[in-house]
């Protein structure tokens, strides 16, 4: 049984436009899957749908975690099951520091694990873990005291997304263009951080436009995503082919004869 199983998934926006048009995909722990596809092809929509964004409707298909459908679960319950989404555009929460937000999030997940009983992390332990993770991801110390994503640069936001992942220890991490906006050093550090977490406890689904992050993360599978569907699957070599040739080769035949 796969950790995550996406079956014939169709996702529409509130006005009924179908964005994701039949996706099948399985991700296990110990695996890194890359999704590459042109702008507007529906990658973020897929990621949002996995996480349970209320603005997107699943019109057909299913999403299973450990063999159980999560379609009825709210975003927080999905997070508690071990799903994590690093946002392409993380939102700011003024007035809430990164540290206090992280502590609340950790405690929410711990509470769910303890069957609804409060089981807050001890503050010294939290401090220790936070310090260690910040050091590893080279996030400057003072970021912990800043308001979450408030006035952060693009790259800072992305790093803090990965910091959240490191501390929340999800089982399946979906990274939506986490590499965009990162400088070369940051890219290496962040990719290293992800690679380190992938193992028997975690699998990852990495959405990206670029070969570069994949050089570091080394995906096991690459999926080419065009127009709401996976049109080709393969190994890392597929990413190289894409980088060389673009999406042209993968664009599906026009349906119904329209160009």
């Amino acid at each position: 049984m796969a950790l995550l199983e996406i079956k014939n998934l169709h996702v529409s926006t509130e006005d009924g436009t179908e964005i994701v048009r039949g996706v099948d995909l399985s991700v296990n722990t110990n695996e890194v899957h890359a999704i590459m596809g042109p702008n507007g092809s529906g990658k973020s929509t897929l990621a949002y749908a996995l996480m349970g964004h209320p603005a997107y409707e699943i019109t057909e298909g299913d999403i299973l975690v450990d063999g159980e459908s999560i379609l009825e679960l709210e975003a927080d319950e999905r997070a508690q099951r071990g799903l994590f989404l690093a946002f392409q555009y993380p939102h700011a929460v003024p007035g809430v520091t990164v540290a206090s937000f992280l502590r609340s999030a950790i405690n929410a997940v711990r509470k769910a694990k303890a069957g609804g009983e409060d089981d807050p992390i001890k503050i010294p332990e939290f401090r220790k873990r936070l310090d260690a993770a910040m050091k590893q991801l080279k996030v400057p110390k003072e970021m912990a005291g800043r308001y979450l994503n408030d006035g952060f640069s693009g790259g800072e936001k992305k790093r803090v997304e990965i910091l959240q992942m490191a501390l929340l220890q999800p089982r399946l991490a979906v990274l939506d263009e986490t590499d965009s906006g990162l400088d070369i050093d940051a890219l290496r550090i962040v990719a290293g951080g992800v690679r380190e977490l992938v193992g028997p406890e975690m699998g990852a689904l990495v959405i990206t436009h670029y070969q570069r992050i994949l050089n570091y993360i080394k995906p096991d599978f690459v999926h080419v995503f065009v127009d709401g569907r996976i049109v080709r699957e393969g190994g890392p070599e597929l990413a190289e082919q894409l980088e060389a040739e673009g999406y042209e080769t993968f664009t599906p035949e026009p349906v119904g004869g329209e160009a």
């Binding site: 997070a79 939102h91 007035g95 937000f101 929410a108």
Partner: protein
Amino acid sequence: MATTETQVVGEIGNEYRYGFHDPEDYFFKSQRGLTREVVAAISEHKDEPQWMRDFRLKSLEYFEARPMPEWGGDLSGIDFDNIYYYIKPTETQAKSWEDLPPDIKQTWDRLGIPEAERKFLAGVGAQYESEVVYHKLQAELEEKGVLFLDMDSGLREHEDLVRQYFGTIIPQNDNKFAALNSAVWSGGSFIYVPPGVSIEMPLQAYFRINAENMGQFERTLIIVDEGAYVHYVEGCTAPIYTTDSLHSAVVEIIVKPGARCRYTTIQNWSSNVYNLVTKRAVAYENATMEWVDGNLGSKQTMKYPAIWLMGEGAHGEVLSIAFAGEGQHQDAGGKAVHVAPNTSSVITSKSISKNGGRSSYRGLLEVAKGATGARSKVVCDALILDEESRTDTYPYIRIDENDVDIGHEATVSKIGEEQLFYLMSRGLSEAEAAAMIVSGFVEPITKELPLEYAVEMNRLIQLQMEGSVG
């Protein structure tokens, strides 16, 4: 009918924790309603000097002559004839918590006051109904000449000082409710800080209404002498009854040259208390006055802490948080009046409305002719949590001087679906996520509070938020 705590808590959906009440076993309770006889009896009972008795009776005339205010909130529910204007719970004031009657002591224990005193307060006053039942000031402050007494003792022991200032900042006919307070006032704090004395830890007064239909009219006078500093904090709670109570205080503050006073209120009245308070401070040369005002409870609050900047270089700040839940209207704000040159003021107001609650910002900014170089900034941010709730802004500005720098900003926002989703995707429930956004929203004000109060404020907001979403 006596209401048990469980009933009380059940009625309010876990929101109000201080809804318990004690059995009434009072030393003295006036009849319902307001007459010359009641006013005279209060004065008699307190054995006051003639001038105070006359002041009270004159104030009663003003109160009766004035119409109810037509602006602000809906005050039609107040039945002046049904209110107890004076209740004296104990015969004497206690110097230690142990000396209080067990019921009353227990109340303060449950509110955590004795513990707070031990931990971080320089002095405490605890008012129960009309009288301050407990009072204590650290000995070393007493030695430095600091006075921290209940207002009645202040009048008895320092009559000259009281007579010099009482009713000078807020005249007895200032408004209907100031007149009412002037007629029937009882309790409150009297503070004098001698020149150059800086009191590091806050002085706190705690106000508790216990009886149904009680009217609490405390009167506070604070004089901060040259170069001195004090931080005074007040907290308020009451039980939940089916009929309403009235809290109508008057607070007068004098901040002398170079002195600084900070006055923090965490008002958490139950949702059946009319809270109509007049607060005004005057700040002289290079003095600083700061009002930090948290209004979380009550049915109707009308309160606009004011600062008159009388001396050159004086600075005033009002930081106000209002949280209006179901059936609540918080009409709050601040006033700054620039009389002297080079004075500055900042008014920051943050309001939250949910479950049909209404919060209004009402502010006055006035710059008199000759107050050259005055600077003022007013920022009002409102957060609305649902479609039924409401917020409005009434900024009044009168400027009679050209050489001034005035700014006014107002925003109204809602909790965004995207922001909620982002937080929920990290495992927080919708209510937790909303509470987090709200506490972030008020953070610019809570960060100004001493840690203990910031924690308390956040906890109260959390309680207000519980079950409010989804």
